[in-house]
Structure formats: structure tokens, C-alpha cells
Amino acid sequence: MFTSERVRAIAYQALLLAAVVGIGWLLVANTLYNLSTRQIQVGFGFLSREAGFEIAESPIVFDPSNSYGRAFLVGLLNTLRISALGIVGATLLGTLIGIARLSSNWLVARLASAYVEFVRNVPLLLQLFVWYGLITELLPPVREAIAFGDLVFLSQRGLRYAWPQAAPGWSAAGWAFAAAVVLALAWRALASRRQRATGAQWPVLWPSLGLLLLLPVGAWLAGGAPTQVDLPRLGGFDFRGGRSLSPEFIALLVGLSTYTAAFIAEVVRGGILSVPRGQAEAAMALGLKPGQRLRLVTMPQALRVIIPPLTSQYLNLTKNSSLAVAIGYPDLVAVANTTMNQTGQAIEAIAILMAVYLAISLAISLMMNWYAARTRLVER
């Protein structure tokens, strides 16, 4: 009986399961005992208790009398905010540097290579410390802030900028812009379907730009053409009015973007290099202009190779945003840390942290799988 492979397989798995369950039960028992001796309640009830601490910056209103649950929400929003902006910045900068590395201009290619080789081999934490130190030490104090007209001020305390005051005209313009994006995409789908059916090419670029420009402007005019702007004004020890970006935010954004851009540059370079030269030559033989060649032949094939490692870099950037806790930006990890120290509810806080990051990883992975499936090469 013991030589039968099926029996052995079942026996091994039963043993493994017993070992894992046994160790798990031991850890849980120890944990519950230790928690009870320290008089710490297990459970997520603490989330409705009053937080009692300030959060330095938040996209939604938060004061110390709000609950821990709301504090976690603020942390999550801060994390998403810096990750989204970081992804945009890193992609733009990384694509530029990746293309620069392939440039026929020796000087530009060498400089881009030097950038990538330098930034990739230094820990992100040190880069963040340096950016944060540069901003808080090298920028002038608030009273001598670098001014761009009356609209933008750069100082030790961060970036202060003018922003239009909220009015119906502006929100109407915002909605009109969203509608214009949807309409432009629909127009593009319609035009490509028409082209597949009849061969006739409807213009796509200019009508789309027109929509994106005219619809919001029209809505703005219809809403009364509001022009009131919230200007930052120096009063007392700091600016009043306008919107601001804290030094922590700026340092984290610049650090994350420049660091991830170096990795994205390598991904983009690999993708472009993976398209065989014959493709470009065939496109030229067909009489396609350079712009058309790039758009219709090179980029689709390069993107197929670029997208999977690119999403992996996006994931790394999101995980690296947790370094915010080291320079004082109140992201999810920083809020969880404060909560852990105040309430002792370490397990629940860490469980929330891990669940959130796993959800983000899963979402990004699913999107990547969907895109890869859509663009997969169907081979004979």
C-alpha cells in the first residue's frame, strides 16, 4: 500500500497540511494569550474610535476628532494620489530617456545611459533623503520665495499655486471635458469600423481635438465665464489662499518618478529594440510616412513587449510609495504606523495594510492580463 503513488501523495499532503495547521494554531494560540495579558482587544472595533492625531495633508477633510477608519481612508487616498502622479511622471520621463538611449546622437545616448546606470544602483530611500534635504535646505525661506508672476511660489515650505475659485462654470467645464473624451473615443471607434467596412477614412485627430477644446470652453461660457482666481498671498508666517504641495509630497513625487523612470527607460528600450528592423523597412517600402510608420507598425509591436514589465514597474512604484513614512508624508503605511503605536492593534493594522496592497497588486495584474490577452499573437 505504501508504494502506491497516489497513497503516498495523499499521505504527504495530509502531513504538510497537518504541519501548517499545527504551526498556525500554535501561533494563533500564543498571539491570543499574549494579547489578553496586555489587555488588547482583537477585532476591528477600534476603527470607529476617535483618532486623536493630526494628518499633515489630506485630499478630504480630516481633524483629530474623526475616527481611525477615516484616518486609514485618508492614508489610502494619499497613497493612491502619489502613486497615480508618480506613475504618470515616471512613464513620461522614462519613455523620453528610453528613446534617448537609442538616439543616434552619441552625446544624448551616453547621457541617458549614465542617468540610468546611476539612478538604478542607488537605494531609493537615500535618493528620497537627498531630494527632501535639497528642498528643505536649498530652497529659500517663505519670505523670499521664488515667484513666477503672482501665480506660483516655490519655497522651503513647498509649492504654492493659484487655482480658480470653485464656480458652476468650472464644474460644468469639467463634466464637458469628460463627455468630450467619451465622444472622441466613440468617434474613433466608429471611424475605424467604417474604415474596415468600406475603406473610407474619416478624419479623427482634428475632430477629436476640436471636441476636447470646444466643449469645455462652451460649457465654461454657458456657466457664466467665471474668472475669479484664488491667489496665494503672503501673510504672517506663511501664504494664505491658493493650493499647495508640501515639500514631503514634492520630494516623494520627484524621487519616485526619477527612480522608476530609470527602470521604465530600460523596459521601453527593450521593447523598441525587440521590433525587427524588417518591419520598419517593410513599412518604408509600403510608402508609409515616418509618423504613420511609428503609429501603425512599430509602436503596436513594441507595446506588446513593453506592457507586462511596465505594469510590473507600476506595481513597484506603488509599493515603493510606502517609503513615504521615512520622510513624513502621511500615506497609508504612515497612518497605520501611528495607529499601531497609539492603539496597540498591530495585527489588525498590518492586516489592513497587506489587504490594501494585495488588492492594488491584483487590480494591476488583472489589467495587465486583460491587455496581454487582447494583444496576444495568434500563431498558426
Binding site: L17, N30, N105, L107, N121, N337
Partner: protein, 347 residues
């Protein structure tokens, strides 16, 4: 001359780009070089000498002044020759392991010996003054966390990779869950978990120090990434090899050890080296749980001394140069290794 024309000035747009880039370099480079080298204060000098050139020249004297703290943190002054030996020994072991001629079973024995000697030198006992783990710090801690992290995570990673490809459903599920969960969360959360939760997991009275907790967390973290690297290697081994081992009548353990793993690991080694480089950079995160690695030691060395506090940029630049030297050397080695292995050499 013609080559310069072709590379830099081949078209109007290209020429404009070259001229713009040269102009940018000409504007930024001379002041930077002056600050970094020409007007800087080198060697031992009092803080006042640095204050005199503040803004024009870098103060490298801060590195000379705080050198010992940056390298060894709070390790007892008289015994600092011991961590110095550990640094040299671990670097020598890394260089030895890099040579393909050394890829033999005796390398594992040499490593085991090296690890044991490192612990003896750092911790003391048996003829040396005992030094508690709370006092270990600086570059030896960074090297130890990274090297021992990969060394001890490697067997676990191989097991996870094999488990993930296993036919047994429970083994496969457990492996997949472990790998995907650990790879989906940041290292900081794992370090927090180690720092606050290990104390709760263990029975009353049993306590493990902060450094050991961080080391265990790093081992558990790296194992998941190594598992993926080894899995890539396992998938690269042609099915014929598995079938041939079966045909020879080898049991699973022997076929893995003698046929599959040697081939799989050869393919996986560049990925493993890349994981090591990433880990080396990530050891700086133990700052968050207040462990004195090299990065934290550098940060603390200037933070607490009022006279030198404003020269933190020079201190950080020093640590950046040290990290860069290690990581750049390792990445160049990884590229060389990949090319060398692809040539089909036997190891």
C-alpha cells in the same frame, strides 16, 4: 572628424540637439565640479574650515570626521577591528563566489564557515569580548542582512518553486498563496510585521532581538522572489530532461538534485543576482524599525552633531557612492555572467 560629424551633427535637428546638450553641460558642470572637488575641504578639518567655504565647496571633512560611526555605528570603539574583518571577509566571499571556477560543492562549506566566523567575530564569546546584537551596526549589518538573507532564503525559495510546479494540489496552493501574497506587499509591511508581531507570536518568555527579527523578515521576503527566479529556471529545462530522468528510474528527489536543478539554477542565476542587488538596496529600509544599517548610521552620524549637522548632503553623497560601487559592480557582473552562461560554457 567624420565620425563626430556623423554621430553628433548629422542633421539640422541633430546638430541643434547636440548644441543644446553641450550648452546645458557647460552651464551645469563647471560649478558642480568646483563644488565637488576644486573648492571642497578634503581630509580631516574642523567644522569651522567647512563653514568658511559653505555654499562654494563641499565639506568632505564630515566623512573623515564621522567615518567610524558611518561604518560601525555604536559598536564598541576598541573592538571595531572585528566588524572591519567581517566586511573584508564577506566581500572576499562574494568575489570568490563570482568566479565560475569556484562553483563546486566545497563553496557551500566555505560559506558555512564564513557565516559562522562572521557571527563569532561580531558577537564575541570563545576568546573575544561579547558584544550584544543591539550594538551591531553600519556596513557589516547591511552586508549581513543582504548576504545571509539570500543564503538562507535560497533553500526555501527552491522548495517554493518546486512546490508551485507540483502536481499535488495542496502543495501547489500553499506555494502559490505564499509567493503571491509576499510579492504583492511592500518590504516595509513585512518589516513592521516582524517588528511588532513576532513578539506576539512567541510564547511568553521567549524573546528574539530586533536584528534577528529583521533578518527573518528579510529571509521570508526574499524567498518569494527567489522562488520566481528558480521557477523561471525550472521552466527553461526541456521536458525531455524530466522524462529522461524518469526513464532512468530515478526517484523524484534524485532526479531533481542530479538532473533538473543543476540545469535550472544555471538559467536562474542572473535573476538570482538581480534579486540580490535589489535586496542590497532594500536593506536600507530597516531604518524604519530603527536598526543601524549603513544608511541609518550615515543619517544618524550628522543628525546628532550640531556642528556638522548642515553637511548632511555630503554624508548622504558618501553613502550613495558606497552603495553605487557595490550595486554597479554587481550589475556589471550579472550582465557578464548572463553573456558567459549563454555561450554554453560548462560550470
Amino acid at each position: 572628424m567624420n565620425r563626430i560629424r556623423a554621430q553628433l551633427f548629422s542633421s539640422p535637428a541633430n546638430s541643434a540637439l547636440t548644441i543644446a546638450t553641450l550648452a546645458l553641460l557647460g552651464w551645469a558642470l563647471p560649478p558642480a565640479l568646483r563644488w565637488l572637488f576644486l573648492d571642497a575641504v578634503w581630509g580631516h578639518a574642523p567644522a569651522s574650515a567647512c563653514d568658511a567655504v559653505r555654499g562654494q565647496g563641499a565639506c568632505w571633512a564630515v566623512v573623515a570626521e564621522k567615518f567610524r560611526f558611518m561604518l560601525f555605528a555604536v559598536y564598541p570603539y576598541d573592538e571595531q577591528w572585528r566588524p572591519a574583518i567581517v566586511i573584508v571577509m564577506l566581500c572576499a566571499l562574494l568575489v570568490l563566489s563570482a568566479m565560475r571556477r569556484a562553483w563546486r560543492p566545497w563553496l557551500a562549506v566555505v560559506w558555512a564557515f564564513g557565516i559562522a566566523v562572521s557571527f563569532w567575530l561580531m558577537g564575541g564569546g570563545a576568546g573575544l569580548v561579547p558584544v550584544r546584537a543591539e550594538q551591531w551596526g553600519g556596513l557589516p549589518v547591511t552586508l549581513m542582512l543582504a548576504i545571509f538573507g539570500v543564503a538562507f532564503a535560497f533553500p526555501l525559495g527552491v522548495l517554493l518553486a518546486l512546490g508551485r510546479r507540483s502536481q499535488l494540489p495542496i502543495v501547489r496552493s500553499l506555494s502559490i498563496v505564499y509567493i503571491e501574497v509576499v510579492r504583492g506587499v511592500p518590504l516595509i509591511t513585512v518589516l513592521f510585521m516582524a517588528s511588532v508581531m513576532f513578539a506576539l507570536f512567541l510564547p511568553e518568555g521567549l524573546r528574539i532581538g530586533q536584528l534577528l527579527r529583521a533578518q527573518i523578515a528579510i529571509i521570508l521576503f526574499v524567498a518569494a522572489y527567489l522562488a520566481e527566479a528558480v521557477r523561471g529556471g525550472l521552466e527553461a529545462v526541456p521536458r525531455g530532461q524530466y522524462e529522461a530522468a524518469e526513464a532512468l528510474g530515478l526517484p523524484w528527489s534524485k532526479s531533481m538534485a542530479l538532473v533538473i536543478l543543476p540545469q535550472a539554477l544555471r538559467v536562474a542565476i542572473p535573476s538570482i543576482v538581480n534579486s540580490f542587488i535589489s535586496l542590497f538596496k532594500d536593506t536600507s529600509l530597516v531604518v524604519i524599525i530603527a536598526i543601524y544599517d549603513f544608511a541609518y548610521a550615515v543619517k544618524k552620524s550628522v543628525e546628532t552633531d550640531f556642528a556638522w549637522k548642515k553637511y548632511f548632503i555630503e554624508a548622504f553623497l558618501f553613502s550613495i557612492v558606497v552603495y553605487w560601487i557595490f550595486c554597479f559592480a554587481m550589475s556589471k557582473y550579472s550582465q557578464w555572467l548572463e553573456r558567459d552562461l549563454a555561450r554554453g560554457g560548462h560550470g
